[in-house]
Amino acid sequence: MLRLSREFHDAIVAHARQDHPDEACGVIAGPYGSDEPTRFIPMLNAARSPTFYEFDSADLLALYKEMDANDEEPVVIYHSHTATEAYPSRTDISYASEPNAHYVLVSTREEQSTEFRSFRIVDGLVTEEPVEVV
């Protein structure tokens, strides 16, 4: 199960809405091993695409150095789908390589409502999990 604050939930949705129709992406870091998302870090989608996202390579290195220095890890890795459902695509699954992360997907395909779902993706296996907003 993913537990996250209303503030972080709303920040992810706002980021996804802001970048629509391109995909938005980012991380919520937290203390290593805590499974607790504590630091919201919106990232630039270097692909600037409605169907693909990627962290810029230099941004990625800076992010991991910072997390390493703070003894943090990516607790949540989020991105948006802007025309399809909030479910990991084949591409998402093939790239997923943080076994401890909650992969959050949001869909902005409907203007009035935003789908918000969370998954574990380990060794190519997708497991949806409940999201508790506290």
């Binding site: 995909e23 992406c25 991380v27 990232m43 692909a47 695409s49 409605p50 169907t51 693909f52 996202y53 990627e54 962290f55 390579s57 230099a58 990625l60 290195l61 991991y64 890890e73 890795i77 991105h79 789908h81 802007t82 025309a83 399809t84 990991p88 695509s89 084949r90 591409t91 998402d92 093939s94 790239y95 997923a96 390589s97 943080e98 076994p99 401890n100």
Partner: protein, 93 residues
């Protein structure tokens, strides 16, 4: 010649949990062979069957992405620092 190599979480199963290891090699390609000799299977996670760098990983030498340095032919020297990170990417297709 010793080069410090930072290993991402997903590949620490190969290094017995170690976050960083030491390896040797005059080029990135040689370094990866040396890593694979000590941590069998690691090479297959970094290099594709046709011998190019896997798109799912980013490798940096002294904070420069090797894609801008010469990829697997990137020259290495004693004291260099190599960082391996999983690419964070995906999409709706």
């Amino acid at each position: 010649m010793a080069i410090d190599v930072k290993i991402p979480t997903i590949l620490r199963t190969y290094t017995g949990g170690a976050k960083s290891v030491e390896a040797n090699g005059a080029t990135l390609s040689a370094l990866i062979d040396d890593l694979d000799a000590n941590f069998e299977g690691l090479k297959g996670r970094l290099i594709t069957d046709d011998g190019s760098l896997h798109r799912f990983v980013n490798i940096y030498v002294n904070d420069e992405d090797v894609r801008f340095l010469g990829s697997l032919d990137t020259q290495l020297a004693d004291g260099d620092a190599v960082t391996i990170l999983p690419a964070v990417a995906g999409g709706s297709r």
